[in-house]
């Protein structure tokens, strides 16, 4: 199932793209995309796996751009 999250302080479009690539690689994620303009992160994954995926996604974002926060 697909879920939407707000992504705060993404500063560069290129970073957003890189974050999406990293999040897509997280096990259990079917698809992920980041809309830089509307600051939305959309993750398509299994419902039960979401808490763990979100933790890993936040970690992936930190690696690309420190200070970027995924709001649930």
């Amino acid at each position: 199932m697909k879920k939407k999250f707000k992504l705060e302080s993404v500063d560069c479009a290129h970073c957003a793209e890189q974050m999406a690539v990293l999040i897509r690689k997280i096990p259990g994620v079917n698809d992920a995309s980041i809309n830089f303009m509307t600051q939305r992160l959309i993750i398509d994954a299994d419902e039960a796996a979401f808490p763990e995926i979100l933790r890993l996604a936040q970690k992936a974002c930190d690696r690309v751009d420190d200070g970027c926060v995924i709001k649930v």
């Binding site: 302080s9 500063d11 560069c12 479009a13 290129h14 970073c15 793209e17 890189q18 995309s33 809309n35 830089f36 303009m37 509307t38 600051q39 939305r40 959309i42 690696r63 420190d66 200070g67």
Partner: protein
């Protein structure tokens, strides 16, 4: 404009670094720095502003290196500036850092401003609703309303959910939904859409839809998701950026190593040239400005009451050369009205008045349109008993004489043989002795439709084609009033799909075909065209679902607004691509030849980005 804490902090650093840097530059040019006892002291002087402006970039780069991530923007700046320092270009190294930071700050402000102007536009979400239960009014969350509830909407308030007015009259501001500035009046029985603002009066409204199914929620959802679907131009840039940066870095490495090793060139000269490559290798100008252009275009369109479902749809609208219109409800008003009055003799007003008197008791829609057209006061007519002759018409006693009004079959039974009219529906009027004339009722062409089509053609649409389920004759009459190039009549809904598919084959791959329908039963056709426009869809979620572009009211001129905005957006995106690539290619060439300096490179990089972003933001203001 308020800056975030982070941005204010960066701004302070930029200003202080710039001041310090300026002092150093002046000192250098007046020869003061040459008096310094050691070159290390000179380096230290330039290192102060360099670290002041660049410490966060350096820190981030080092962290990324630890994470085994190489060649992001920050690291490129690090490599370029360190290399510049090593070859003695201290002012250049500081300038690169300083301008990079200015560029980044500018970019954040520009993106923030665009985001804000879109979110202001989308600020149509109602926060509270006032529910009336047993005469008491309570404040509730719009999401808690259920169909059947009665809510009160006072002047100045936003309608929280879709409903029907049960009491009160008011003017509504629908601008947020339709882009239309003229207020719309509502009275009991009228449908009311969420997101409109009540300008005056108090309305009591029966809730018809839950909040999440209401117009406002559907629109917000759609606009928020719009920029997920990327246009081809946008996808191209993303792919290009993936290749561009590594390629330029590789070229820089070769440039720094090959000539000194193979041709015994001067190391510092070739490293300097390689630095120029590194500084120019960031694809920021493209990566930021192209999506920003499309985002702005979608925003400008929503302000005009045209919802575009994605950047790809906007791109398709810009390339549209053929537009296929569904007739009923799109080019025509979709309701019957009197279009012709042909008395056998005597005047038109009298014939119409007599027909209206004859149809006085009829509840048929055709009768209603005759009565609506009539201007004569019917109280002067003695209207007696009336009888409906099913499938034929009516007979009514008017002024002590029996009057028949109806179709050809009815006339034949009276002995008045009449030819069928060529367009629309005929209501013949006769007495037993005399045939009096005919009134033609048809679905009239929308006012302004012809003008809108002419303007579409001026905007680059080459073919306008009309599809209709009506008879050839009726279709021909509507076509005569409009600048359409082709008419396909007597089509069943499935034939419309076939007709559009056939037309799709005739357009070239660089062009697109648009279909415009009222969205009620056009869903298959809307889906099969390159761009499906649904019109007059305020409150119809099925149409919003099926179409690519939704025109909230039924104004055909909005098509023109959509085409204009789409064309301008695409043009700006292309301008930015050509400009950024052109300047970068020129600087790379000049740099490799040793003509360009690091100063030129960094000004070119940051300058191009700023100009491209400013250019992209123009789309937001397109009318």
């Amino acid at each position: 404009m308020r800056l975030s804490k982070k941005d204010r902090h960066v701004l302070v650093r930029i200003v202080s670094t710039a001041a310090l840097f300026l002092v150093l530059l002046v000192a250098e040019h007046t020869g003061q720095l040459e008096r310094l006892p050691s070159v290390w002291l000179l380096r230290a002087c330039y290192a102060v502003p360099y670290f002041l402006i660049g410490y966060d970039i350096l820190w981030k780069s080092l962290k990324n290196v630890c994470h085994l991530r190489f060649f992001d923007e920050e690291q490129l700046m690090l490599y370029a500036t360190v290399a510049a320092f090593c070859i003695g270009e201290y002012p250049e190294a500081t300038a690169v850092m300083l301008l990079f930071q200015i560029g980044e700050l500018f970019q954040r402000i520009a993106v923030g401003k665009s985001r804000k102007s879109i979110s202001d536009l989308m600020d149509i979400c109602p926060v509270v609703a006032y529910r009336e239960t047993d005469g008491a009014i309570e404040e509730v969350d719009p999401e808690d309303l259920v169909p059947g509830d009665i809510i009160v909407v006072k002047a100045g308030e936003r309608v929280p959910v879709d409903g029907v007015v049960v009491h009160g009259v008011a003017s509504l501001d629908t601008a947020a939904l339709t882009g239309e500035s003229a207020p719309r009046d509502v009275a009991p029985g009228d449908a009311l859409y969420s997101g409109c603002i009540n300008l005056n009066g108090t309305l009591r409204v029966e809730v018809k839809k839950k909040f999440e199914d209401s117009t406002v929620a559907i629109i917000l959802e759609m606009v928020e998701n719009a920029s997920d679907k990327k246009a081809k131009t946008e996808a191209f840039i993303t792919r290009f950026a993936h290749v561009y940066t590594p390629a330029v870095i590789a070229a820089a490495a070769l440039l720094a190593l090959i000539p000194p090793l193979v041709l015994h060139g001067d190391w510092s000269e070739w490293i300097r040239r390689a630095c120029i490559f590194l500084v120019i290798s960031c694809p920021c100008a493209l990566v930021i400005s192209v999506p920003l252009s499309f985002f702005g275009g979608i925003g400008a369109a929503s302000r005009a009451g045209v919802l575009v479902k994605g950047s790809n749809c906007l791109e398709a609208v810009a390339k549209m050369t053929t537009v296929v219109f569904d007739r009923t409800g799109t080019l025509t008003c979709g309701r019957f009205s009197v279009t012709d009055i042909r008395p056998a003799d005597g005047d038109k007003t009298a014939l119409l008045a007599l027909a209206a008197a004859a149809e006085y008791y009829s509840d048929h829609p055709i009768a209603a349109s005759i009565r609506a057209e009539n201007q004569v006061d019917l109280t002067n007519f003695a209207i007696g008993s009336s009888e409906t002759l099913t499938g034929q018409g009516v007979k009514t006693e008017v002024n002590d004489e029996m009057v028949w009004a109806g179709n050809e079959a009815l006339m034949r039974s009276l002995g008045h043989t009449q030819q069928p009219v060529e367009t629309g529906t005929a209501v013949h009027v006769a007495t037993a002795a005399r045939y009096l004339g005919v009134i033609v009722i048809s679905d009239s062409v929308k006012p302004g439709a012809a003008e809108a089509l002419c303007r579409l053609k001026q905007n680059g649409v080459r073919r306008c084609i009309m599809l209709t389920g009506d008879h050839v004759s009726a279709a021909g009459a509507a076509a005569a009033e409009l600048p359409v190039d082709d008419v396909r009549a007597e089509l069943l809904p499935q034939d419309k799909v076939a007709a559009v598919e056939e037309l799709l084959k005739t357009r070239s791959s660089k062009e697109t075909l648009g279909f415009v329908g009222d969205g009620i039963n056009d869903a298959p056709v809307l889906a099969c065209a390159d761009v499906g426009f649904a019109m007059g869809t305020l409150g119809s979620d099925a149409a919003i679902e099926a179409a690519d572009v939704v025109i909230m009211d039924d104004d055909l001129n909005k098509m023109n607004a959509a085409v204009r905005i789409a064309r301008k957006t695409l043009r700006i995106a292309k301008e930015n691509i050509a400009f950024a690539l052109g300047v970068k290619a020129a600087v790379l060439l000049l740099g490799a030849l040793g003509i360009a300096s690091l100063w030129l490179a960094v000004f070119a990089d940051v300058g191009v980005m700023m100009l491209a972003v400013l250019n992209a933001m123009r789309t937001l203001r397109t009318k």
